[in-house]
């Protein structure tokens, strides 16, 4: 069954949205009108340019309220789930003991020139995040935190050396698509070194979604507000499956 929804202002389906942007033009009534026309070109209706003002020579800022005729069928929207059957730390450890029978080796790093380790630390460090313990705290995980600004080559050779089961790559800097570049470089190098199928490859960062991750050929991706336990559960379950199906692993 389909369920079409539109933005909601104060009435079902009024489609109201708020918009703001800067135009590289000096402010004038014509500039307001240009902003309005731009919104109209974006397919918006009942466009109200509620604020337009100069913010610098040759630049004007606009605030607009308008209605969009567009709608989405929320029942058709699907997001590849990280299959995270919420498991507690104890449950994850138990699952690993039973179905894998040895510790899972995990390595994480903030790759490329990115030095934002807080995110990956939140996942790996004992302390964890928002009261949820990090992987280092798990009995059945042996985890390595390579820290910041780690070259992908370094990460891959480390993975081969230590026979890492799950690789966790983090990126916070996304400017000019640097995150995509680095994530791609990592998966390609793993392919090239024929170890891609041996590792559960995971990426994460504030702009990462699981959808993006699957597009990049990763096994999963985790974004804003991720809890370590979600990651631990995903790694354990995925690896256990591979063991069961006798698919490649170290």
């Amino acid at each position: 069954m389909t369920q079409l929804v539109r933005p909601y202002g104060d009435t079902q389906n009024d489609g109201k949205v708020q918009l703001s942007f800067t135009l590289p033009v000096p402010w004038s009534d014509a500039a307001d009108e240009a902003a309005r026309q731009l919104a109209v070109k974006m397919g918006l209706r009942d466009v109200q340019v509620v604020d337009g003002r100069p913010i610098a020579t040759g630049f004007s800022f606009f605030v607009i309220y308008a209605s969009t005729p567009q709608s989405v069928d929320v029942d058709a929207v699907t997001v590849p789930s990280t299959g995270a059957h919420a498991l507690s730390m104890e449950e994850v450890d138990a699952l690993v003991r039973e179905r894998i029978g040895r510790k899972i080796r995990v390595a994480g790093a903030c790759i490329g020139t990115d030095a934002h380790t807080v995110g990956i630390d939140a996942i790996l460090n004992m302390k964890g995040y928002k009261g949820d313990y990090g992987l280092e705290r798990y009995r059945e995980f042996e985890s390595f935190n390579l820290g910041s600004q780690v070259a992908v080559e370094e990460l891959v050779s480390f993975a081969k050396e230590r026979r890492i089961d799950a690789l966790l790559a983090s990126q916070a800097v996304t400017q000019k698509g640097s995150d995509i570049k680095n994530f791609t470089a990592l998966s390609e190098l793993l392919e090239a070194e024929n170890v891609r199928d041996k590792v559960v490859l995971i990426c994460g960062g504030p702009r990462v979604t699981n959808l993006l991750a699957s597009e990049l050929g990763y096994d999963a991706g985790f974004g804003r507000g991720t809890l370590p336990s979600q990651v631990a559960a995903f790694v354990a379950v995925t690896l256990a499956e591979r063991f069961r199906q006798g698919r490649p692993h170290w």
Binding site: D10, V50, D51, Y65
Partner: protein, 515 residues
Amino acid sequence: MELRIDRQSVQRCRELAGAIVAPVEDFIAAHSTVSVERAVLRLLGVDGITDQEVPLPNAVVDALPSDERAGGVALALGRAMAETGLEPQQLAESIAARKHVFEAFAQTPEAAARAALGAHVERAMQRIAARRDERASLLDRLPQLAPPLLYVIVASGNIYEDRTAAVAAAQAGAQVIAVIRSTGQSLLDFVPFGPTTEGFGGTYATQANFAIMRAALDEIGERLGRYVMLTNYASGLCMPEIAVMAALERLDMLLNDSMYGILFRDINMKRTFIDQHFSRMLNAYSGIIINTGEDNYLTTADAVEQAPAVLASQFINEEFAHRAGLPDHQIGLGDAYEIDPDREDSFLYQVAQAQLAREIFPDASLKYMPPTKHMTGDVFKGHLIDAMFNLTSVMTHQSIHLCGMPTEAIHTPFLGDRALALENARYIMGTARHLGDEIVLRPGGTIERRAHEVLAGCEGLLERVAGMGLMKAIEAALFADVSRGPERGRGLDGVFTRAQEYWNPFADALTRAPA
């Protein structure tokens, strides 16, 4: 936070307010209005509309022979009941349908009339008391969050959309929901009937709409574990009737100002004074907190200049309220954050004024209104002005806090706007929760000096008003720069002098009733 103020001057202002209000109260005591009479009918259970869609209370009062009107509708109706044995509602219907005419019962003795109504008056008083006690026990079981009580408006024009919006706002932290009236309702000399889905800039205040909202808020209140209050507007041509509806549907607050209608809606002053008195007597008994409209002085004139007028109006509203039997905690005196935000140190001026009110009216439920006039389409800056307003409110311990909307200059609030406004208030009032207790105002500083200036200005203004009398003062445009004459304005024809035998059973009952 402590502000050293001239207590003698405060004392003097109260005396002046007393002197100003006293003669008006004498006038009130000698008169009544069609809306007071219609309110009496509603209390007696008369409701509904005729086939021409005239509300029954209007139809009945209009049916009163001119010579009988001065006695009050209660007597006329009582006489008819005594003779016909009909219930008020049935009787009202047949009068509206011209099946009965009042003239027929003119000779029936007063005593019979009073006797016929006695039981109904009792029942009405009990119904109101029951709603009031119900509120008390709900508040006990579902305590509210600490003040300032976050108050937001809904105003889609459609009561069902309003309901959705109100429930969402409650979940986002709102503790009081006000349903804004459609533009112009305050000028209607009747109260619309039934649920409504069409209104401009607001939704009609009808008893059915009140009930729909009340039910929705009670339900969400139970789920949230905290009582959610409901508010609407009385001021206008139907103050007493709306007070009745509010009492019966357990509204918790009502906008009810002793002069708003006069100054801002050009409603005749006699009409307003008489109406506000009876409506406030009802509010007092119903446990409803009144909200006065001092904020309106600031939206039309410069807020720095008007500060003394706002304070003067607060003193006058307080006095009228006391005369109608309202205890301090049921008096929500208004003020607003309307000083030009780009004025240097405007925040200091706002704090001075808010703290001054807090210290002069320690037990009143001060109602603080948000910036509106200086809000523009720049929603980002508007959000910041609201933040400073929120900060002032928590610093100066205001009681009722009307959340400002970033889209104030644009449209009546969207559901998302309210969420942002409540997020703003929650954040600011949390991060600076005890700031007010942390600081001492520098003696002789800008804030203290400003507070003194405002108080002195107020005393001076009250002196002049007392000198010429309130009605003359209003005519002389001493309030809000508008002149309104005693014989001008809307609704004067609905005012009449009480006859010797005039009887308003509820006025009596309410006067007897313990506050």
